[in-house]
């Protein structure tokens, strides 16, 4: 680096700019290439993860359709919410959809499964950036906290109970991380209210979905 005899062309601004530009171009090409190469595997992994999570919030016995194919898109607060529908014998047996919680470090994507009566079948965290060792106890791999939502509904749990214990509710907070569980509880509560408000629409089967052709066409 500190060679005393630096060739004179290297001192010119043009060389420096070209060097920087060259490296920036190389970096850009490399990143575009890795993006192209990894895009499909990453998308495949994302679908596998989603499927693996869907299986956890909707028991396989409840459906005989392809959950990733039979979806319904509902506009919610300016964005689209994808509803995964479990269908068995031409009747909807469960719904799953994603809600977003405000975590300590950005958004937490939460997938929840609900049965037609509005009772929670299961809740799982899809992605988050919470503090490792503190807020990440919302993952099933690190703790059982998230299973505490199972079998709860707006009917069997009053509005005031949808909070962490510190706020007078029924859910445990984590030592050192209250914001994380507070956000998840609020998001799941909102998710149930969404279900209740749109119940009729969400459970209507007449929307053209794959299952409707079963049995009618040879």
């Amino acid at each position: 680096m500190t060679t005393p005899l630096e060739p004179s062309y290297r001192q010119r601004a043009g060389y420096q700019a070209g060097l920087l530009g060259g490296f920036a171009t190389m970096a850009a090409v490399l990143l575009v290439m890795s993006n192209l190469i990894t895009r499909e595997p990453i998308e495949a992994r994302r679908r596998e993860d989603l499927m693996a999570s869907l299986v956890q919030v909707i028991p396989p016995a409840l459906h005989d359709n392809d959950l990733l194919a039979d979806t319904l898109t509902v506009p919610v607060d300016g964005s689209q919410r994808v509803i995964y529908r479990a269908v068995r014998d031409h009747a909807i047996t469960a719904l799953a959809y994603q809600v977003t919680a405000n975590g300590y470090a950005g958004d937490i994507d939460v997938l929840m499964g609900v049965d037609p009566q509005g009772e929670i079948l299961g809740v799982r965290v899809l992605s988050h950036a919470e503090t490792p060792g503190l807020g990440d106890k919302i993952e099933t791999a690190k703790g059982d906290w998230i299973r505490g939502f199972e079998k709860l509904s707006l009917d069997n749990t009053p509005d005031a109970a949808w909070a962490v214990k510190k706020d007078g509710g029924r859910f445990d907070q984590f030592s050192g991380a209250t914001i994380t569980p507070r956000g998840v509880v609020a998001a799941v509560h909102l998710g149930l209210e969404f279900f209740q408000a749109n119940r009729a629409r969400l459970l209507a089967l007449e929307v053209p979905i794959a299952i409707s052709t079963k049995g009618t066409t040879p």
Partner: protein
Amino acid sequence: MSTDYRRLTRDGLWDNNVVFSQLLALCPLLAVTASATNGLGMGLATTAVLMASGATVAVFRHFITPAVRIPVFVLIIATIVTAVDMAMNAWVHDLHKVLGLFIPLIVTNCAILGRAESFASKQALGPALYDGLMMGLGFTLALVVLGATREIIGSGTLFANASLLLGQAFSFLELRLIPDYHGFLLVTLPPGGFLALGFLLAAKRRLDARLARRAEARALAVAAAES
């Protein structure tokens, strides 16, 4: 130019350890060392990036002029980290799920820029790679020691969730050292990281001072025997 690989090993692991001597990389250090497993994962990922960036910088060292070296190094490091992040997401997805939170943090590790600047930019490919490996292992050692200290005092466990990182075969590492321990929250939080690091630094200084004294006494004894 011959390279003293023994010197490089000693420097990376102990004498010039990234954390314990240079006091670099404290941001990722304090962020992830609430447990020994997180420390290990972060350490290994950082080692890979250190080696790759050191090798790249060493290969291009004759083209890079001093005036633009820092932006070029930053570009190289950021590109490598992003590519590693994407590759891990695509092909070692399970490991990425555990480490995913920490991979982008590697960019903030000033030790990598420090090694590119002070070592790799002046050395051939071989020594730069080896230095990256040793510095990375030294960093991993510091992360695991600090993580283990905080995990034992903070939650009473050691290497919790190690099987998520290393696979089921390593589940024997997961120990619950203190049963029915309610945890010592301060140690798990970031201030606890500073405290634990401070005690570890003091311990290393003390150990070094004692070793130096012993070496001095031995030299004196040898001198006395000879006279």
